[in-house]
Amino acid sequence: MSSATQRRVFLVAALLVAAVALGVISMGGIGENLVYFWTPAQVHENASKAVGATIRMGGVVQADSVDWQPDTQALTFTVGESAVDTATPITVHAQSAPPQMFREGIGVVVEGTMTDAGTFRADKVMVKHSNEYRAPTDGMAPADLYATVEEL
């Protein structure tokens, strides 16, 4: 091959490799394995590994489960797979003031660890907002808007 042809082959080959790699990163299923958080069901599946290790758990705050004691800063609530989850809800204990958006039926991500008692001890409570932006309406069910966490 002549030198000019070689350079052209190299140019095409290098661009192809870069494009394929970028394509695999963006299209391939790599991301599916890299989890930012576990859902309550996944925490149950991996119960033995979740105790002691720092993990994040994402889910929906269950109705009538929030207990907030302003004087002791103790926050207790139950996180389930979806808005009404009867199978896998996990009780979370936290020692921090809940953020403004925190309420029943909203998506949350908690960071902390599972205790031997089967409850989650959270160092950090974060509210996950979906990509929905809605004007408030009368009698609106907040849970309807928070589909993102449930889809996972």
Binding site: W68, P70, P99
Partner: protein, 41 residues
């Protein structure tokens, strides 16, 4: 709920204020004398 971290307008004003201040400040640095035309011309 009592004692919650409250959002509200403070955060909104901070976000908008910083954005506009930086963008206007950046504009001023660009139109300073001598920057858009060579000095002495």
């Amino acid at each position: 709920m009592d004692g919650m971290i409250d959002g509200g307008w403070g955060f909104v004003w901070a976000a908008y204020g910083i954005t506009w201040a930086v963008l206007l400040g950046y504009l001023v640095t660009l139109v300073l004398p001598g920057r858009l035309s060579p000095p002495g011309s």
